[in-house]
């Protein structure tokens, strides 16, 4: 058997609270830890995200730049282009013919693609016409890009138009000798496509690509005026052939978003926790309810009276109940055995009474002979003085008290007047005994009063008590004893009643008696006997 300690004294309700707390506590600690770590990791993620997006942005620009550089290199060494711009054309048609041919056959002039939106060669050749991919230099002299290119005096530069934010690669065309003046290749990066790329970036935050305060691309669609680069922006600067391109990036702190993502964990936990607690409560309540119920189903008198067999489940409570029920059944069996023993004892008493009557030799009663009164009674054996009879009745009545019930008997009589009277032995005693038995059917306590009085040639003997009435059926049976027609179930009135004292009295007094049974606020039997018969005398016994 397990040791019983202080744990055994903890009630189920308290145990339940402990269990819930023990489940809740680690989880709350976990969630709290997550919420503390979240901003820290989010900040790191933000930085990483900013670096990543800048690297990706740089890749876009770099690819476009390298693509333009590749085209520029190809054009730079393309002999046909030099021939086109070196030639002196006699008229527009002559130039158109030359241009038409090179346009059809030379891929350089049509190598515009997603990265490059325009390729144009500017030449000082006065005999060419502006249009398509070739243009006269005079049309661009004085422009910002031309001036910048001239000022830097480099073979190739990358140029950003501060007004439009357009990016261009400028390449001096001098691989072959050019006799018609300066010649510059200008390749415009496809800003719309690049902007589209930036717009489609899946980045939660701002990414700005700028050059000296001019916004080139962004994922927000903001204009220059709407941009405010603050210290919390990550910055990266990359130089592309003389042009510095700045990348500014700031990721949104997505605490709110992350919380909304992470909130699923505590919410899920709470849901599961609620379900778990509910389940635990139900499990424990099931046990406690059944234990309480089982406590109630034990009756001191009836033992275990379980009506709902569902309570007899297969768990430990059910087993406990079954054990208790079995024990109760055994106790009840013992109790029943006791009752049966008492009944047997009572039977023995009745039987003893009968035997005793037999012993008294009341053959007339047994034979029901009308001449019974003439039977020879041995006076010393069967005739008893009334006072002695009343005393016997009082004593004998006390033997009929069931367990747990109470009887008090008072006898009142003018013993001087009645001391000469006698009557058959035990006739009143047995009647009184019957009254007591009947009385205890409906009463737990009986105060029995036995009286005897003599006058006018009759002796009146009464026995009764106050309290509950006896049942109507019982009363009828009592009365029927004195009726002419005997009740067939007379014997059923009480075992041994075939030796009924009233029958005996009737036989003895030859119907000159009256017996009144009244059951009102209790019960009373009143016997009226002729005194003359009660005088002791000798009887002739018929042979």
């Amino acid at each position: 058997m397990p040791k019983s300690g202080f744990l055994s004294d903890i009630k189920f309700r308290t145990r339940l609270v402990f269990v819930c707390l023990l489940v809740l506590l680690p989880s709350l600690i976990l969630i709290a830890t997550i919420l503390i770590i979240l901003p820290i990791s989010e900040s790191a993620r933000k930085k990483e995200s900013e670096q990543t997006i800048m690297a990706a942005s740089e890749q876009y620009i770099s690819t476009a730049v390298e693509n333009s550089v590749y085209i520029a290199k190809t054009a730079y060494t393309n002999k046909e282009l030099y021939e086109l711009i070196n030639k002196k054309y006699k008229d527009a048609a002559d130039y158109y013919t030359a241009y038409y041919e090179i346009k059809s056959s030379n891929p350089i002039l049509t190598s515009e693609n997603n990265s490059v939106s325009g390729i144009k060669i500017y030449s000082d050749n006065p005999t060419i016409l502006s249009g398509g991919a070739i243009s006269r230099m005079e049309s661009v002299r004085g422009t910002e890009w031309y001036n910048t290119f001239s000022r830097l005096n480099k073979d190739m530069i990358f140029y950003c138009d501060s007004a439009t934010g357009e990016l261009s690669l400028l390449r001096k065309m001098d691989y072959y000798t050019v006799n018609t003046g300066d010649c510059i290749l200008k390749i415009d990066l496809n800003g719309e496509i690049l902007q589209e790329c930036f717009k489609n970036l899946k980045f939660s935050g701002n990414i700005y690509v700028m050059n000296g305060g001019t916004l080139l691309f962004s994922n927000t669609g903001n204009s220059d005026d709407e941009i405010n680069i603050t210290s919390d922006y990550s910055c990266m600067i990359k130089n592309y052939y003389t042009v510095d391109i700045e990348y500014y990036s700031r990721a949104d702190m997505e605490i709110g978003g992350m919380v909304s993502e992470w909130i699923i964990i505590p919410v899920t936990f709470l849901v599961i926790y609620a379900i778990s607690v509910t389940m635990i409560i139900r499990l424990l309540k099931n046990v406690t309810d059944r234990v309480k119920h089982l406590n109630g189903v034990y009756d001191l008198d009836k033992g275990f009276c379980l009506k709902d067999s569902d309570l007899l489940c297969k768990d430990e409570v059910g087993a406990l109940y079954r054990s208790c029920a079995e024990l109760s059944e055994k106790l009840e069996q013992v109790e029943n055995d006791d009752g049966r023993h008492i009944e047997q004892l009572n039977g023995c008493i009745y039987e003893n009474n009968t035997l005793m009557l037999d012993a008294l030799g009341i053959e007339a009663v047994l034979s029901s002979s009308d001449n019974a009164r003439y039977l020879k009674f041995r006076e010393e054996d069967i005739i008893c003085p009334l006072d002695a009879e009343l005393e016997k009745a009082s004593d004998f009545a006390k033997t009929g008290v069931p367990d747990g019930k109470k009887l008090t008997v008072t006898v009142s009589a003018d013993f001087e007047k009645i001391k000469s009277l006698s009557l058959p032995l035990l006739s009143v005693t047995m009647a009184v005994y019957d009254i007591v038995l009947c009385g205890f059917e409906n009463n737990d306590e009986i105060a029995l009063k036995i009286k005897a009085d003599e006058g006018n040639g009759y002796c009146v003997i009464s026995a009764g008590y106050g309290g509950n009435e006896i049942s109507a059926g019982r009363l009828l049976k009592l009365r029927s004893i004195f009726e002419k027609e005997k009740s067939d179930d007379l014997w059923d009135f009480m075992p041994g009643y075939q030796y009924n004292p009233f029958i005996r009295l009737e036989k003895y007094y030859l119907e000159n008696i009256s017996a009144v049974f009244s059951s009102e606020n209790g019960f009373e039997m009143r016997l009226t006997l002729p005194v003359d018969v009660m005088k002791p005398k000798k009887y002739d016994v018929k042979e």
Partner: protein, 532 residues
């Protein structure tokens, strides 16, 4: 517990389509257009009424219909709707990229009855199915357009005003006015040079250069040929005497410096840039092609159409009723996940209520209706409509089918801009003066009234379906190449006759013109027979 956590999010992702959810389609429209904003007002109203909307994607600068659609065909991934040009339409059909709309339209009477059975038959594919719906060819009752959308000789209002609104009938008169104005006004106030006449000749847009001879001879815009109405024979418009006179005139004007010397080198974008500068006095073009590029020009630099003919006595035929162009249209692609809904979308767009939203706007807000059902605009509504942001407010779904001409109520024009009272009231005073000087209230009234289209009209809808698989298709390609190569030389040539002869030699030696013309003649007669 871990299991529960893992399972819960996936459960949360399950969602069905709500009853009032808007189905959003995608589309590619092979033209330069303006993309609507996601919260476009009228588009939102339409989508709430019909439960669907379509995001329109247009050609971007630097893209061509061919490049975009070729990529789609290679990848096999298309938007839900596609509206290509005629060449790409054939490619899409050959690639099996379109679904047969006629298999789905039985429950959609607006769409099914959009064309007559005879008209639908003109666009059935070889397998008998209809794969696309031409969007611009259906006129309800009669044409009400106040604007001449097609080809014409265009001239700036300031030129006519300066010249005192002269009556210009012939080619010579047209260039005479330009020459005189240019001589008097070689530069503008800002110092920029005026260009007397500009020519767009890049790729297929070179119709501005090569097909005016048909108009000069008084024929309508069959585009690829002239049709003799008596013999029902196709005539090569490239070699007619008028054609020669036309190019000779251009040659003369080029030499005079009236024509932009760079014109044949220009890309389309460069051409539009020049028009947008407002410095170009005149050109031949189709209104739909250039109008979007000059919207910001002041009234004096806007263009009005002139019905120029080669000689007096020739009746010009520039304005035609809407041509039945069956060569292309909007189709539903095989990438569309819900073809039934897409067909319903087309059907819904043709309902009277949605047509009003598309072309008039919101009743009570953009226009009002009098007791007789006539739509009108208050001054506030007219001003508001003029200023409406096409990106954020209006939604015409202009490349999806609609009815031109009259509104389906039979009372109003299909579009507010075509309502005569609204149109004239909205014109700038300078343009009103110009129109009034010629006794007109609309641009169309500057030209002869359109006539009933001939049964074969327009023939360009046929040549647009040519591929290089046939002799006549190859001939067309060769003709295009020769014209692209030689016509600029003809115009720019020092000696026109020599250039012309070289052109003709190349033309006849490199092109199977007979195969081309004979096929067109056969098509003319087929269409005439079909129309009987």
């Amino acid at each position: 517990m871990a299991l529960c956590i893992a399972v819960l999010p996936s459960c949360a992702l399950k969602k069905g389509k709500a009853e009032n959810e808007i189905t959003e389609f995608s589309s590619f429209l092979a033209a330069y257009g303006t993309e609507l904003s996601d919260d476009n007002v009228v588009q939102q109203i339409i989508s709430e009424k019909i439960g669907a909307k379509c995001k329109e994607t247009w050609l971007k600068e630097g893209e061509t219909a061919e490049s975009v659609i070729s990529k789609m065909i290679i990848s096999g991934e298309y938007p839900d709707f596609i509206s290509p040009d005629s060449t790409q339409q054939q490619k899409l059909l050959n690639a099996g990229a379109l679904i047969p709309i006629d298999e789905y339209w039985d429950d959609y009477p607006n769409l099914k009855n959009y064309f007559t059975e005879a008209e639908w038959n003109r666009m059935r594919s070889e397998d008998g199915h209809i794969y696309y719906v031409p969007a611009f060819s259906k006129v309800y009752m009669y044409d009400t357009t106040p604007i001449h959308y097609d080809e014409a000789f265009w001239i700036q209002v300031r030129v006519l005003e300066w010249a005192g609104y002269p009556k210009i009938m012939t080619l010579d008169e047209y260039f005479d006015v330009l020459e005189k104005y240019l001589a008097a006004n070689p530069t503008n106030e800002d110092g920029s040079k005026n260009i007397g006449y500009e020519i767009l000749s890049e790729n297929w847009l070179y119709f501005c250069l090569e097909n005016p001879p048909q108009f000069l001879d008084g024929y309508p815009n069959d585009g690829c040929c002239i049709v003799n109405p008596n013999t029902l024979e196709a005539v090569d418009l490239n070699t007619t005497p008028t054609a020669k006179r036309w190019f000779k005139k251009l040659n003369e004007e080029y030499k005079k410096g009236v024509i932009d010397p760079e014109c044949f080198l220009l890309t389309a974008d460069q051409y539009f840039e020049k028009l947008a500068s407002g410095n170009v006095l005149g050109m031949v073009d189709q209104y739909w092609n250039y109008s979007g590029k000059i919207e910001s020009l002041p009234a004096e630099k806007q263009y009005v159409p002139i019905g120029v003919v080669i000689d007096k006595g020739v009746e010009e035929h520039y304005h035609s009723n809407v041509a039945m162009d069956t060569s292309s249209g909007v189709g539903i692609t095989t990438s569309c996940n819900d073809v039934e809904a897409a067909v319903k979308f087309l059907d819904d767009l043709l309902s009277p209520e949605v047509l009003n939203l598309r072309f008039w706007g919101v009743e009570g807000v953009d226009y009002s209706v009098d007791k007789d059902g006539l739509f009108y605009m208050t001054d506030e509504q007219a001003a508001s409509t003029q200023n409406n942001d096409n990106v954020n407010y209006s939604c015409r779904y202009s490349y999806f089918p609609y009815y031109r001409g009259m509104n389906l109520d039979g009372i109003n024009a299909y579009c507010w801009a075509y309502q005569p009272s609204v149109f004239y009231g909205n014109l700038d005073k300078q343009i009103k003066n110009c129109l009034s000087a010629y006794g007109a209230q609309t641009y169309v009234e500057l030209l002869n009234k359109s006539e009933e289209n001939a049964a074969w009209y327009p023939m360009w809808s046929y040549t647009n379906t040519f591929t290089d698989k046939t002799p006549y298709g190859k001939a067309k390609i060769a003709m295009d190449e020769v014209k692209h190569e030689y016509l600029p030389k003809v115009v720019m040539g020092e000696d026109f006759d020599t250039s012309w002869d070289e052109y003709m030699d190349a033309y006849h030696s490199r092109c199977d013109v007979d195969a081309y013309i004979n096929e067109l003649t056969a098509e003319v007669r087929r269409r005439v027979d079909m129309g009987k």
